[in-house]
């Protein structure tokens, strides 16, 4: 947009505007309200609702303010008799086919049409003819439809096309037959689709799980931060009589703009799951029995000290969910370290810890979300970005459409909905070679030499056309970025991928970042929930066991903070066996599951993210605190309180805090200001990746299985992404195995395995089978990535 300014006048008020701005934007900036339905600041201009008609001097007819660019000396009147009459007439037309069923409409009270009808509608309708009725398409479990209410503003259509990237909704038919929908019976599956609910100015598209449960005016609104991915989207929690009924986006231009992902919007449905633990439980003769808090804490403390006395502190393993808050992580590590153990980790989804010592102080994007938009070149290695962090994917997409050349190196052909400079798809075992190809191509492109550390990995690697294209894209321009995703982090050759990513970043002078699991892995790392580092990334003397080691060399006792090892762990089968074999398992858990029921000795019920004060550090290193907005159900208590009480019963130091703010103060004092730290390759031994026998299992974490809360959200589980328990095969492999789409197959590794339905997926390269993790169906299989055999049954 041009920087040239023009002078215009709105309602007699002289204003300055940038050339090319629309009248409505200038008016909005100046606080002059022009009624509108179809205009939205984040979407293209459609000018089809005609509600924003204003009078322009010298224009014979009223003009739509949203589609009229400003010009020098333009005089606009938004309230003149001519403008008002145009607006009122538009409103009358809009109301002709609107059912006026506000009393049963969930939008009632927060409806743009209702608000504007109050100002511009007639008291009594003149329209006596029959109104049009439209049947409602089923758009899936998240969005309810009442299309008779639709006023055809096409905001939802433009959203799916422009923001989500794939036009799922459209306006079919014309004139009175025009209707918004999918035309054929199908659901809207995009992971940002819930935003059409907020965009819809009427009650045509609404929040389905929330349907008929509350009114806008009776709910209280509380600021919250999403704990499901490292973006840390800002939310408003809408609470009615102590119940968290729905989440809507809280505008934050530098994080989530005005959107949120469906995962953030609907995860609150899990809070009231029947699996919620509401009382402390203690293993008695017939399984877990409810007990009082004092007894539970007493027994938990005694169990911990007994285990340490009998087996030594080394036999205690402690695991925390990466979505827990900084306060909880801080007290958790203080408790475990106070007991003398360093077996402490939050990286349950990782297996390769060789580069622990060389990694930065906490996993971060290496860049702010806003800066992504102004990049020239970027490369993402090992990430199904859209499913891992939808809002980050949205930023990258925006950048790509804006001219950033984004290259992708992935183990499967994930859909991105934006132009890429290249998408290098390789079988999981060859991912390192793929990354090496790009590094070689980049060194040729930039005439730079490949860093010595990774020389061994690039030997005899000949870059293909795709790798060259990615390298060329990355080498373009001034500002560049290399990021490694969750699939890279969970890869058995994470160290090699990271080294190659760092090498590429080093050669291209790009920033280097990591997309980690959960909403607060940065906070967990800073708070010291790591075997080798304490708070503030201070190295500890005797590094303990990491998450994977704790499972493969089982401990006598485990302390869990809101994680479900069999679902979260890299090797789910080993994790489950380790829990089953342990003498004692003490779980601070918000939800019950079969494994806990069988294995836990003490279950202490904790609150979920909206139920206590909590601070989370997102992937930009941004600290965000939010208050507890609802009470934990029953006897459940915020985890920080339980940890503090445990610390007190065990008579440990550093558990004197009275409130969570004090815990945060203590945590901040202990953490200090370490900064992101340096990412290097010091002391990391790199090896050529081995190619295992059989098909390569690609263990993707499905978008709606990332943490205990999301797994309990019924509406999310009913979506297409939620029904992910399938073994996806490349067509060539399916043919070879004589497997058809929908056949039952057994995926096995040694004597472990699981039975799944096969799905043929052209996105997968030959030789790999995508078997998602984090699901009950695939728990028995074990390692997230590696060789498996598939057979038809």
């Amino acid at each position: 947009m041009s920087d040239e300014t023009v002078n215009i006048e709105i309602n007699g008020e002289p204003l300055k505007a940038r050339k090319g701005q629309m009248v409505i934007e200038v008016a909005d900036d100046a606080g002059i309200r022009i009624p509108r339905f179809c205009y939205h600041k984040k979407l293209s201009v459609a000018a089809n609702c005609r509600m924003c008609l204003v009078e322009l001097e010298k224009a014979p007819k009223p003009m739509p303010a949203c589609a009229t660019p400003v010009g020098e000396g333009m005089k606009v009147y938004t309230q003149s008799p001519k403008a008002l009459s145009a607006q009122k007439n538009t409103m009358e037309f809009l109301l002709i086919n609107h059912p006026l069923d506000c009393p049963i409409c969930d939008q009632g009270g927060e409806c743009e049409l209702q608000d504007l009808a109050l100002g511009f509608g007639r008291g009594v309708s003149r329209y006596t003819e029959g109104k049009r009725v439209v049947s409602d398409p089923d758009l899936g479990p998240l969005i309810s439809t009442d299309m008779t209410r639709c006023i055809h503003c096409t905001r939802c259509v433009r959203f799916t096309e422009e923001v989500a990237g794939y036009k799922e909704l459209g306006a079919t038919g014309r004139g009175e037959q025009m209707r918004i929908g999918t035309y054929i019976e199908q659901t809207v599956d995009h992971e940002l689709s819930g935003n059409v609910i907020d965009l819809c100015p009427v009650g045509a598209l609404n929040n389905k799980p929330f349907r008929f449960r509350g009114r806008a005016w009776e709910m209280t609104q509380h600021a919250q931060v999403s704990p499901h991915d490292p973006v840390g989207s800002n939310l408003w929690a809408h609470v009615l009589r102590g119940e968290f009924l729905r989440a809507v986006p809280r505008d934050n231009e530098s994080i989530n703009e005005t959107w949120i992902a469906d995962r953030d919007r609907y995860s609150n449905e899990g809070i009231y799951s029947e699996e919620r633990v509401t009382t402390p439980l203690l293993r008695g003769k017939d399984g877990l029995q409810p007990v009082s808090w004092s007894e539970a804490l007493e027994v938990a403390a005694k169990t911990l000290s007994d285990v340490i006395r009998e087996h030594g502190a080394d036999q205690l393993g402690a695991l925390a969910a990466p979505g827990a808050s900084v306060e909880e992580h801080f007290l958790f590590q203080a408790l475990v370290r106070g007991l003398g153990s360093n077996n402490l980790d939050h990286r349950l989804g990782q297996v390769d810890f060789r580069s622990d010592g060389a990694e930065g102080h906490y996993p971060w994007f290496g860049i702010t979300l806003e800066e992504i938009e102004s990049l020239d070149g970027a490369m993402v290695i090992g990430s199904s970005l859209r499913k891992e962090a939808p809002m980050l994917a949205h930023r990258v997409r925006k950048a790509a459409l804006n001219g950033t050349r984004v290259g992708l190196v992935n183990p499967a052909h994930y859909s991105y909905q934006f132009p890429t400079s290249g998408h290098l798809v390789r079988h999981g075992a060859e991912l390192v070679t793929a990354a090496a190809e790009v590094v070689v191509a980049l060194s040729e492109q930039l005439k730079a030499s490949v860093p010595e550390e990774v020389q061994g990995l690039v030997k005899n690697v000949e870059p293909g056309a795709e790798a060259r294209a990615i390298a060329e894209g990355l080498a373009a321009g001034e500002s560049r970025w290399v990021m490694l995703g969750q699939l890279a982090r969970s890869h058995p050759n994470w160290s090699e991928l990271r080294a190659l990513g760092l090498a590429a970043a080093g050669m291209a002078n790009a920033r280097f970042g990591v997309l980690s699991d959960g909403g607060n892995s940065a906070g967990a790392a800073l708070a010291g929930v790591l075997p080798h580092r304490g708070p503030g990334a201070q190295a500890v003397k005797d590094a303990g066991l990491n998450a994977h080691e704790m499972f493969v060399s089982p401990r006598q006792a485990y302390l869990l903070l809101d994680c479900e090892p069999a679902r979260d762990a890299w090797d789910s089968a080993a994790a489950r066996d380790a829990m089953a074999g342990a003498d004692k398992v003490i779980a601070l858990a918000s939800f019950m599951n079969e494994d806990l029921r069988q294995q836990a000795d003490i279950v202490l019920p904790v609150g979920v993210y909206a139920e206590s004060f909590g601070t989370r550090v997102n992937g930009e290193g941004r600290w965000q605190s939010s208050q507890g907005t609802v009470q934990p159900p029953g006897e459940a208590r915020p985890a920080w309180k339980i940890l503090r009480a445990l610390g007190n019963v065990l008579e440990l130091d550093g558990f004197e805090q009275m409130d969570p703010e004090e815990v945060l103060r203590d945590a901040r004092a202990a953490i200090g200001e370490p900064g992101p730290g340096e990412e290097n390759l010091d002391g990391v031994e790199l090896a050529q990746p081995a190619r295992p026998k059989g098909l390569w299992r690609l263990g993707e974490m499905p978008i709606y299985a990332v943490d205990a809360l999301v797994r309990r959200s019924e509406p999310l589980q009913q979506t297409r992404d939620g029904r992910a328990a399938e073994a996806r095969l490349a067509p060539a492999d399916a043919e070879q195995l004589n497997v058809n789409d929908g056949d039952a197959v057994r995926v096995s590794l040694g004597n472990r395995g699981c039975r799944l339905l096969a799905r043929i997926d052209t996105a997968l390269p030959k030789g790999s089978v995508a078997v998602p993790v984090g699901l009950a169906e695939t728990e028995g299989l074990g390692p997230r990535h590696g060789g498996v055999t598939v057979e038809r049954i």
Binding site: C102, P103, I104, R211, F212, G214, R215
Partner: protein, 162 residues
Amino acid sequence: MRFLRSYAKSLLLWELLLGMRLTLRHFFSPKVTIRYPEEKTPKSPRYRGMLVLRRYPSGEERCIACKLCEAVCPALAITIDSEMREDGTRRTTRYDIDAFKCIYCGFCEEACPVDAIVASRFTEFHFEERGQQIMTKDVMLAMGDKLEPQIAADRAIENQYR
């Protein structure tokens, strides 16, 4: 002179006689009190007594859980929980009125778009235990069913003024 007149009046108990005259007159005039509860005073069709919930002639409850009555209630006497019923319609799962809080202002009736909550002529109720003053949906619907003929007749009269 004035002194003499007042002296005479007080001597002759004039004012007492005036009072007795009034007493005597009322002694023979028709009575205004009634023998409650055998007899009752007439009530206006606009009378605002106990709130009840109405049904449609089909037996379907009228209330659609729009919560306008809850919003307008100045005494915060109404509490509603709503949900989608199995047939997909919007219905209340809870409709409580705290009879102790209710001030019988009738705003809820004004606000109701479907004439579900109405003020009846019914005023004769008592509570024996704390907690009974919470009128639940079942109770209010039952009262509505019982009083429906009178309520319907009253609304019919009032219709012309609404």
